[in-house]
Symmetry: C2
């Protein structure tokens, strides 16, 4: 059996060619095939149309040695995947009587009234030479077809049917077709640095990683409020790949220092939460322009009631004074968006609720409200801990929701750096 | 000029063939091309690889009369879209000197130090006969290429560059290539009803819409906290399509009554915001399990400072008492998750901040904290207006973040129904 190294994924379904639905199955399939050492060289979406699907399938056949088709395996006339694949490969379709019997039994066991509709027998049609893949979570069985050096898999579209089937295949027959070099990934997440800085600082490591055996490939992705370093390697075994990536992660962490907030998949809010737990601290939030997003992100983490005491969204100036005790003359003197007001908000909520860490955020999320001196995106953030008070003014770019998110991320990052 | 009716979309970029990134540009592109009357017949993703991209592009050329390629237009060796398209079409690439000059001017205007890197000149290479599409938001210009009866568009990958460019093309030169039967869509959004109810209630309309000329096709999608009815029609003209859809929208609204919160694309938070403005009301939020999400959603809307006074996230019981004035014995007697406590929270914040509308939300977002009597997902919500007080207990399903979202949606929907 030939190892599989080049994969193509085809999602079938006219709904996936509208503005309303997107194929996300291919992300899971890619991750799984990568562990076999197979690279995905193309992905495509075809509608429920015999001619179009046949064209896309033929292109994939010419380019890949494993082709995974998802969807279009149902019992209706719209479900054309089985027929198109069989016809393109020149194989006859015939009913698998044993499969029909299993489908009838399943139908009866589910308590449906009356006999199974005859149309369901379409799902028992199998191309010559194909093997049936059982589907414990639905009526559409999968198909495994060997064609010369290539393997073609037909899997059902619903994720709750597809995922267990593919997982079982990977633990069983697909594992034997591994190219012998699993591709693994790790992500190093950073905040408070910009993409070009990061890229420059990591240049010597890129060279080292490219030159070593096995090489580590690195990609920097700038996401909102954070920079992600994606590391991947293809090694003779999973153990080697894990060790190689672990070393690269440690090297990147050494270079980037305290800009790195996570190398184990955790989000910023989870990292800050874990630090608060480790210190035995409780936190309270005083938010203006972030409008509750900071509190909402912290409370997205399960178990956050252990350390989130409360938050106040003081959108109006009166609320800043009444609920947080910010002196009105401070607002008059420095403006509502200023570090002194942010510090007063953080200190105010910290004192009023007797917590260890207080955070104050005040800014202009836009689109209105900016001035020449303080344009849209200007945000003052302050953090008060038992040992320290820090404040900083940021200038974020983007739409209202992007400014809100970046401000919440910068506030969390300030807390993280102060609790290190 | 031939009208365009069959579209193919190709996203270029190796990162789109990993488990980490997905092409979402194609959803926007599909929506826009549909308004021209063009159906998308295939979508594909190719990596930054000349051979693979050429194969996919040739397949698309054989199947479609408008092909949109996105991405791979940057200045580096990895950016191969221009070269592959030119080579496949047999057209020479040459530098557009005027374009280089405009790029240099843009580079200088942005305040970068030193001259533009020579590598950027790659972006000024234009295939013979192609027209340059200006990109006001980035350095990569787009390209418009006529090839026999087909039109090929090369657009940059970043959405904030791609979207304005495509929108401008649709208002201008692309509009003249419309197939004459534009496909238009409307979405009717509902809350407080379930999918099967909605489906049953709309059955007679489905039959009417299918039988009429031009027919209206309807799809129900259950999103978190809301049901969406997607209506589309393909009509001889945009005016006819608009009128046919408007009639269908009105029919659906008549049947579904006050469950419908939007038929013009607005979100629930925008709808509630507009109602608050119309009444001249200000609102304050007292949140427990939603953790600030309710305030954050309301303040996602531009201009919300006109009606959002403040919010209090009272996660701990002490905070409910201190900041909201909830009587401790009420919590002892009914439990923190109860309608009396929700009402006390709503009334407390309303009085303390002197606003018109107060909202209280208290519940168990999970995964911990549930009991037999009050399982995870139990949420009590209260709304107090100048004329009325209402409270209700919900039981939501799903993970922590899903419970939070559904609770915020139900709270907004209660406000909406009370302000109608």
């Amino acid at each position: 059996m030939t190892p599989l190294s080049r994969a193509a994924i085809i999602a079938v379904g006219s709904e996936l060619l509208t503005p309303l639905r997107i194929d996300t199955n291919s992300l899971f399939i890619t991750e799984q095939l990568n562990t076999l050492g197979a690279d995905v060289v193309m992905k495509a979406v075809a509608g429920d149309d015999r001619v179009e699907l046949a064209h896309v399938f033929r292109t994939a056949l010419a380019r890949a040695d494993i082709i995974v088709l998802t969807g279009g395996l149902g019992p209706t006339d719209d479900d054309v995947t089985r027929e198109v694949v069989a016809e393109t490969l020149g194989r006859a379709l015939s009913e698998d009587a044993a499969l029909t019997e299993r489908m009838r039994a399943r139908f009866a066991a589910r308590g449906y009234k009356g006999p199974m509709p005859e149309s369901n027998r379409r799902q028992a049609m199998v191309p010559a030479g194909a093997r049936v893949i059982e589907n414990p979570n639905g009526s559409a069985p999968g198909l495994w077809i060997e064609e010369r050096e290539s393997l073609i898999l037909l899997l059902p579209g619903p994720p709750r049917e597809l995922k267990p089937m593919l997982t079982a295949l990977l633990a069983g027959p697909l594992r034997q077709r591994a190219a012998g070099a699993p591709l693994l990934r790790r992500i190093v997440r950073m905040a408070g640095v910009i993409e070009s800085q990061t890229d420059e600082a990591l240049q010597p490591l890129y060279r080292e990683w490219t030159g070593q055996t096995p090489p580590v490939s690195a990609t920097i992705l700038a996401a909102l409020g954070q920079i992600e370093l994606h590391l991947s390697t293809q090694a003779p075994s999973t153990d080697v790949a894990v060790a190689v990536l672990e070393r690269a992660v440690r090297q990147a962490c050494d270079v980037m220092g305290d800009a790195v907030f996570s190398s184990d998949g955790r989000s910023m809010e989870a990292v800050v939460g874990d630090m608060l737990v480790a210190h035995g601290y409780r936190i309270a939030l005083a938010e203006s322009c972030t409008g509750g997003l900071l509190a909402s992100r912290l409370t997205d983490v399960a178990g956050s009631s252990r350390y989130v005491e409360c938050g106040v969204v003081a959108y109006a100036n009166a609320a800043k004074t009444d609920l947080l005790g910010v002196a009105p003359n401070l607002i008059v003197e420095h403006g509502a968006v200023s570090e002194p007001v942010a510090v007063a908000m953080a200190a105010g909520i910290r004192t009023r609720t007797s917590v260890d860490v207080g955070v104050g955020v005040t800014g202009i999320a836009g689109p209105g409200g900016g001035s020449a001196e303080k344009p849209v995106g200007t945000v003052a953030i302050a953090v008060v801990t038992p040992f320290d008070t820090r404040s900083r003014t940021f200038r974020f770019h983007g739409e209202r929701e992007q400014v809100k998110f970046q401000a919440s991320q910068a506030a969390l990052d300030m807390v993280r750096r102060m609790l290190r």
